[in-house]
Amino acid sequence: MACMNEDGQWIVLMGLLVAVGLFFLALIINQSALVGQTTAEGVLEFPKNDIRDLRSEILDYYSRYERINNHGDLDDVKDDIVRISLERKNAVVHFWNGTPEEITIHYNNGVTVYDETVYHY
């Protein structure tokens, strides 16, 4: 018993170290897939183009204010925008003007909320 060979202990210890190292590497790879998933979802769900488009449409609406008002269709066109936004974009849209130039836009699609007051001439 006194002369028992103990060299194998190093091999076992190193094996353990390698195993722990591999475990951490696997953890990093695993996390990288998750990170990509959430990032992609965040980017895809952000309605950047929807908001830009809606914004330019509402400014366009106020640019044509006089012309549409002459025909008495202001509320109809506004309803078009609100109703179609709800139907096709799942977005609650509300906009109004205080003074003729001060336009307030509200947009909410359940994930992203956008509010803006803009002065448009």
Binding site: A40, S56, Y61, D76, R88, K89
Partner: protein
Amino acid sequence: MVNDSGQLYTMEGIAAGLVMLLTAYLILSTTSIYTPGDTHIPDMQLEQLGSDVLAMMDTPDTHGATSALETYVNTNNSTDFKTAFLGYCNAKAIGTDTLHMSANVTYRGDDDQIKEHLLVEPDETWTGRESAVRVTRWVQLDKQTSQMRPYGSRPRAVLVEVLLWRA
């Protein structure tokens, strides 16, 4: 006398170290995981391209003029709309790209129902399995007096929706 036989071992060690580093570099640089974070990038590029094309078509040539997009929608001109849209989309420095599209217009009818009007039919490359992206553009239509008015005569806001795919 100094024993210098260890020099060979040292050089061998350095060489072995370099080989190991090179191997590790090769392995790490060739392995990549294709995550959903990467797959959305082509979709985003396609969406941005389509949005920009629609924005271009919705811009009048001169102040106060009617934009091309508004004219196409108003006159229900699907052929010219498709030609113009795909012309912008497929433009490349060398050759052309292979994008295809279909389009419909969502509007609120006079009976207060949300309706869709098929503006451009999908061509034969459409199987329903394409990873298409949808781009949209609001268009304001002025009061119509002519006979070609698929959406009614009052001024209205309609939503042009374009499906865009590569085939």
